[in-house]
Every structure is written in structure tokens, then in C-alpha cells.
């Protein structure tokens, strides 16, 4: 496996993992932008609206049919927080030509076209996102936000993070906030999308049986990519910072459950000396594994999972 990368335009980088270990090629487009209370909910709706249709595949049904026809190429999107950034992720995985019944047309090229079409060439009506789609996706996200209580363990973790990083970007909920959904309409959402596209850091990852040169060539020639302008990408480089010790706090919420869920979040305190140590991240990961590995069930394992989580958070803060 060989990893190479190339900045094809300022702020837009192609990453290539050339490997013959898989039957599929995976293409991922990541849009990275700073997390903010103001736009966190916009990001969530943008991420959802792009799935609804592009200029060439105007409905979700058309997108699905196209993917099915491509031997079940799978499209996926995700929304993650990494440190103080919000990352909108779009993936398309398709079978390598070698494993298709008859040598189908260049599946990789087609996959790039379809994915960039979804991300960079959305379906518009009257110069803005289709209103019906926007309202439906707002509703879906409203339900997603409201349903965070369903998985109690997950909910406890989310709440713990919110409390630990109160009033900080890292403490924001990745799908945003119900009260902000009402402020979103198809025009201001499209305006935000255009701003996002012109300012965000864009990374395109390709893993599969394809070398960097071919990969870059196909991507550079792609119609949707060629329309993108170079940019001074705005995103937060997460540095490890010295932190003050804080007092232990307990937040308790009551719900009707058979088994209580406990989450302990531990932020790691760094001093000036620690910051010089490049191995800090790995030490934190090791420690995290020591805590969670020891036993399988009973109450202790829950605590361990927790420590995994909070250290993982810290790890995430270090990772960009």
C-alpha cells in the first residue's frame, strides 16, 4: 500500500492510497469548516440536503437507481466533529472493474463524476435549494436531535461532552439545535452552502487499485472539480493547550430505565513540559486501552468505556 498526496488547487488536496487488497475503490470527499454555534445546524442540513438530488440526478430515487445500476455502488455521508472543526463527509464505494461480470465502463471515473455531482452540483430551483427538500430535511434533523435520548448510553456520553466543553466549539452537538432549524430556509441555506464551498478545506481521498497519477488526472479533469476556485481554507488547527484543573462535577438526569448509565469524562491536564512531548497522543491512547481492556462486563466496563471516550476526545483534539 502506498500513500501519496497532491494539492491540486490551493486548499484542495487529493490523497491516494494505491492498494490491490480490496475489491472496491473508495472515494471520500471531506469538507472541513470551523465549528460554531451559529452554523452547526446549517452544516447538518447542508449535509442532508446534498443527498436529495444533483443537477444530473434530480431526485433521491434517481441517485439510488444510478448507484444500483453501478453494481450497488454505495453512497454515504456523515457529519463529524474533530476538535473544533465540523467535517462534512461524503463517500462513494464501487466495485473495481476487475470483478465485474463484463468489463463495464471505467467504474472509477464514473464514481468520481457521480460523487462530485452530489457534493458540488446540487439540484436547485429558482437559484436556491428546493424548498420542499429543505423543509423535509429540517424535519428529519429535528427528529434526529430529539431522538438522542433513545440510546441511553450514547445520550449519557453526548451530555457528558456537552458539560465538559460547555460554551466551547467541541461541546456543540453535531446535528445542531432544534431552535436554530426554524431560522433556516432554502435561500439562506444555499447562501451558506456557497460560502462553505468557497472557504472550506477540501480533501479528496481515493483508496483502491489506482495510482496517484491516474487518480489526480481523472479528478482534475472532472467537470465539477474544475469549477472549484483555489482558496485560503478556513479551519482550526487544533493545538494541545495547557489547561487549568477544574472541580469535579456530577450531572444526574432521571429516566425510566432498567439499568443506569454512567459516563465519566476526564479531560487530560497538560503542563508546559508535556507539550514538548511528541508522544503524548500515543501515551494517552495506551492509557485509554489499559483502562478499557481489563474486564468484560459488570459496572467497571462501563467506566472503562467512558475513559476510552474522554481520552478519545482528547485524542481527537490532538489529531489535526
Amino acid at each position: 500500500m502506498e500513500y501519496k498526496k497532491q494539492e491540486i488547487k490551493k486548499g484542495i488536496t487529493v490523497h491516494n492510497l494505491n492498494t490491490d487488497k480490496f475489491k472496491t475503490n473508495l472515494i471520500a470527499i471531506f469538507l472541513t469548516t470551523p465549528l460554531s454555534r451559529e452554523y452547526v445546524t446549517f452544516d447538518a442540513v447542508v449535509s442532508a440536503i446534498l443527498r436529495r438530488g444533483s443537477k444530473t440526478m434530480q431526485t433521491q430515487e434517481e441517485i439510488s437507481k444510478t448507484l444500483e445500476e453501478m453494481y450497488g455502488a454505495s453512497f454515504d455521508s456523515g457529519l463529524n466533529k474533530t476538535g473544533d472543526n465540523h467535517i462534512l463527509k461524503f463517500y462513494l464505494e464501487s466495485i473495481n472493474d476487475e470483478f465485474l461480470p463484463q468489463n463495464a465502463n471505467n467504474m472509477f471515473k464514473m464514481s468520481i463524476e457521480k460523487l462530485t455531482d452530489i457534493v458540488f452540483n446540487p439540484y436547485l430551483e429558482d437559484g436556491k435549494f428546493k424548498e420542499e427538500y429543505v423543509e423535509q430535511e429540517k424535519e428529519n434533523i429535528r427528529q434526529k436531535i430529539n431522538s438522542k435520548v433513545d440510546n441511553k448510553a450514547q445520550y449519557a456520553r453526548t451530555r457528558c461532552i456537552e458539560e465538559m466543553y460547555k460554551d466551547m466549539p467541541a461541546g456543540l452537538y453535531r446535528f445542531g439545535y432544534v431552535e436554530d432549524l426554524d431560522k433556516i430556509n432554502s435561500q439562506n441555506l444555499y447562501d451558506y452552502y456557497k460560502k462553505l464551498l468557497s472557504e472550506c478545506k477540501i480533501d479528496i481521498f481515493v483508496s483502491g487499485k489506482i495510482n496517484k497519477e491516474d487518480c489526480v488526472k481523472i479528478i482534475e479533469e472532472d467537470e465539477n472539480i474544475s469549477k472549484l476556485e483555489p482558496r485560503d481554507a478556513k479551519y482550526v488547527v487544533n493545538d494541545i493547550e495547557v489547561k487549568e484543573e477544574v472541580e469535579e462535577r456530577t450531572i444526574e438526569e432521571k429516566m425510566d430505565v432498567v439499568q443506569g448509565k454512567v459516563v465519566i469524562g476526564c479531560d487530560i491536564l497538560f503542563n508546559e513540559e508535556d507539550l514538548k512531548d511528541k508522544n503524548l497522543k500515543y501515551q494517552a491512547m495506551m492509557y485509554n486501552n489499559l483502562l478499557r481492556r481489563k474486564c468484560k462486563f459488570k459496572t467497571i466496563s462501563k467506566c472503562q468505556r467512558k475513559s476510552k471516550f474522554s481520552i478519545y476526545r482528547k485524542f481527537k483534539l490532538c489529531s489535526l
Binding site: 490491490d20 487488497k21 480490496f22 475489491k23 472496491t24 433521491q60 430515487e61 439510488s64 437507481k65 448507484l67 444500483e68 445500476e69 453501478m70 453494481y71 450497488g72 455502488a73 464505494e93 464501487s94 466495485i95 476487475e98 470483478f99 461480470p101 423535509q136 424535519e139 428529519n140 427528529q143 430529539n146 431522538s147 435520548v149 433513545d150 441511553k152 429516566m255 425510566d256 430505565v257 432498567v258 439499568q259 481492556r293 481489563k294 468484560k296 462486563f297 459488570k298
Partner: protein, 422 residues
């Protein structure tokens, strides 16, 4: 070893049935870092009543023994827990129990053979005492309580209970706190000696291996054990009808969850692969991402994700499950039934069929991306008497006529149930 090459996915299976009856399979993946090994016994949560080879009288054991055994296998006479030992070697080990099999596994990048010593040692050396069996009841009790909080699990179990009258597939794999209270070390040894015989087991490895070499290493570590004869599993006759059409439970969820179940006739061994493929195609045509039904319900704001679609079967049961969150579960159910009725009258659409068939073909190819998926697939298919390559070979012969026939045979309105958790 016998070799089977599949030209579609360009992989080779090496397989050997040893003298003691153990089947060993190896799917080499050159250049892949991860190594995966899984050892399964054809013994799952449904095998509660059986005749031990050499005996004449059937015995019945409490529900949950297979899973209990799985838990207890890690405990060793020297006081060590094999899971900890394997972890200390640097490999990631685990085990699981399903309806029809129990499996032990680990994966690693280094120290494979060192771990193999421990792995093959603990699976072949059970150590049960009154004390350690009692202790485990508390731990498993916790696990059972944990599942009580999962709406997804409840909606699934309730659906099975609505479909099956007597078949043990309807019971929770773990058993209940009451049933496991009756388990003792004698029962565990009895079940171990019956089902953990090499002739009832299969071991699969996937990774950068030389097949003959790994076979030698496995044989070296096997203890001497005679093949025992056939284990006769006893299932009460399950009537064709469902128990009740609708079942509902209230839990603390923001949005109702529903599972539509369809009770089917278990396919004969020859029909299994084609039936599975045909049902996967049909389910995706009716309720997949590009289906009209999904589009309609999504646009109405009733559902907001593609339902999970599955077909489960073993020797003597088979059912279809469709699970999703919905604001109005009844409406989803009614519209699904209407769609089934429409297809019954008009047949399935040819264009949709061809497209979805391509998609399913791709799905099976994707299974070969990861050593874990490959090994697990070969093991679980083996337990059903299937060679996993058969899916790729037989899909060509799955045509619209066959799919329409499978539809008629399996999607029967009077066999449908609706389970809701709200």
C-alpha cells in the same frame, strides 16, 4: 487439501475434513496484514432438546445454555481467563452465540501462532465448577438486563414471538434470568461433550497464510478426540400459522420502531442459496432505496431511513424481517401489504429486477474486502450447509420467473406480523 477457485471474485478456498471430523477452511489473502481465525460449533440457542450420540433418550436443557457455555469457556483451570491471556499476547479475541452456532475468534497482525496455542487450548479444555458457574449467572443476568433497555432488540424478539408458536428461535439467545438459574456444571459438560466434538465443528482462517502450513499448525494443536455420531436435534412441530398478527410494547423512545415479520417455509438445502438471493432482490425491489414505497413514506415524513431488510433461516425455520423507525407504524404496514398485493396481481417489474440483481451481485463481491467478513461468512454459511462461493455462482441463474415464484411462495399476507415498540 481440496481447492475451489472462484473466477468472479478471484479467490481460492482450501478446505479439508480431518480424520476426527473437523472441517478446516483457509482463504489466503496475500499481502494483507490482518489475520483472522474463527472456530465454530454447530450449536446455537435453538438446540435445547437433543439425543446425545450413543444414547436413546432425548434430553432437554434450560434456554440459554449455548450462550452460557460461550461465556464460561474462557475460564481456565490454572485460574487464568483466556481472553486476558490473548489480550496480553496482543491479539483481539472475542466470541459470540447465534441461533444456530457458537463461535470463538481472534484477529491480529503479529503473534498469531503464540495466540493459536492459547486459543486452541481453551476451546478444547472446558473448566466448570459449581462456584464459577454460579458466579457467571450474575454476569449474564446483567447482560440480560442490558438488552431489556434496547428497543431494537425488543421489537425483534416480540416479532419472533408473534410468528412462532413453539420453535425456540423465538427465545432470547441469552435465555432469561429464570432459565439460566437452572444451569449447572453437569449440564454444561453434557452440552460441551455433545456439541464441541470436532465432527460438529468448523475452523476458518483468513489472511496471509500458506494453506498447508496453517493446516499442519492446527493439527499439531488438536487433542485426540474420536468423532462422535450424529446429534439428533429435536424440534416440536411448528405449525405454519402465525401466533398473532400484531404486538406492541411501550418503552421510552422518541419515535416508534417497527418490525414487519413474514413467516416462511424453511427452504430445502438445494433451494437455500437461490431463495436467499431471490428474497434479497425482492426486498430491495419493494422497500429498498429506489423503491416507490420507500420514496412515498419518506416524502410523507413517516420514515426517514431505508429499512433494514433481512432473511433468516436454518434447517427448520425461515422468516423475513423489515425493521425501521416510523411515525406511523400501522400505515407503513398497511402500505407494505398493499404493495405485496399489487405485486401478487401484476408480478415484479423486469427493469427494476435487472438493476437490483446487479446491486446484489456487487454486495456479494464487497463481502470479500475484509478478512473478518470473509471468515465469518464462510463459517456461518458452512453451518447452513452452504459454500459461500455458491452465491456468486448461482446468482446468474436467478431470473425473473424464479423470483416471481419465490415471491408467491414466501410473501403471504396471512403469514405477516407487525411488532411495534413505541
Amino acid at each position: 487439501m481440496q481447492t475451489i477457485y472462484n473466477s468472479k471474485v478471484k479467490e481460492t478456498l482450501y478446505t479439508e475434513k480431518l480424520k476426527n471430523g473437523l472441517t478446516v477452511m483457509c482463504i489466503p489473502k496475500k499481502g494483507v496484514q490482518k489475520k483472522y481465525i474463527i472456530w465454530g460449533t454447530h450449536y446455537g440457542s435453538i438446540d435445547n432438546k437433543f439425543i446425545v450420540p450413543g444414547e436413546t433418550e432425548p434430553i432437554e436443557v434450560p434456554k440459554g445454555v449455548a450462550h452460557f457455555l460461550e461465556h464460561k469457556m474462557f475460564e481456565q483451570e490454572n485460574g487464568k481467563n483466556s481472553l486476558d491471556v490473548l489480550t496480553s499476547i496482543g491479539v483481539s479475541a472475542n466470541a459470540y452465540t447465534t441461533n444456530d452456532h457458537t463461535a470463538y475468534l481472534y484477529e491480529c497482525t503479529d503473534n498469531f501462532y503464540e495466540a493459536l496455542d492459547e486459543f486452541m487450548d481453551y476451546v478444547q479444555h472446558p473448566y466448570f465448577t459449581d462456584e464459577n458457574v454460579e458466579k457467571e449467572k450474575g454476569i449474564i443476568g446483567q447482560e440480560i438486563s442490558m438488552y431489556d433497555d434496547y428497543p431494537d432488540w425488543k421489537v425483534y424478539l416480540n416479532c419472533l414471538e408473534a410468528m412462532y408458536n413453539t420453535h425456540p428461535v423465538k427465545l432470547d439467545i441469552t435465555g432469561t434470568i429464570e432459565t439460566i438459574s437452572h444451569i449447572n456444571k453437569e449440564i454444561l459438560y453434557k452440552c460441551y461433550n455433545t456439541f464441541y466434538n470436532p465432527s460438529n465443528m468448523c475452523l476458518v482462517v483468513c489472511g496471509d497464510f500458506k494453506p498447508e502450513e496453517i493446516l499442519d499448525e492446527i493439527e499439531k494443536r488438536l487433542i485426540n478426540k474420536e468423532q462422535n455420531g450424529e446429534i439428533k436435534r429435536i424440534f416440536e412441530e411448528e405449525q405454519e400459522d402465525i401466533v398473532k398478527e400484531k404486538v406492541e410494547q411501550t418503552m421510552n423512545v422518541s419515535k416508534p420502531i417497527l418490525t414487519i415479520g413474514i413467516k416462511c417455509k424453511a427452504p430445502t438445502p438445494k433451494e437455500r442459496v437461490k431463495t436467499q438471493l431471490a428474497i434479497e432482490i425482492i426486498l430491495n425491489m419493494i422497500f429498498g432505496e429506489s423503491s416507490n414505497l420507500y420514496k412515498e413514506l419518506y416524502h410523507e415524513g413517516n420514515i426517514f431511513e431505508v429499512p433494514s431488510l433481512s432473511y433468516e433461516f436454518a434447517e427448520n425455520y425461515a422468516h423475513i424481517l423489515i425493521t425501521t423507525n416510523a411515525n406511523n407504524p400501522e400505515e407503513v404496514y398497511e402500505k407494505f401489504k398493499a404493495k405485496v398485493q399489487e405485486i401478487n396481481e401484476n408480478g415484479l417489474n423486469k427493469e427494476d429486477f435487472e438493476r437490483i440483481k446487479k446491486m446484489i451481485y456487487g454486495e456479494y463481491i464487497k463481502q470479500y474486502n475484509d478478512v473478518t467478513d470473509i471468515a465469518r461468512m464462510f463459517l456461518s454459511d458452512f453451518m447452513k450447509g452452504i459454500n459461500s462461493f455458491d452465491y456468486l455462482e448461482e446468482i446468474e441463474a436467478v431470473d425473473l420467473n424464479l423470483v416471481n415464484q419465490v415471491f408467491k411462495d414466501n410473501f403471504q399476507p396471512q403469514k405477516m406480523v407487525l411488532s411495534v415498540v413505541k
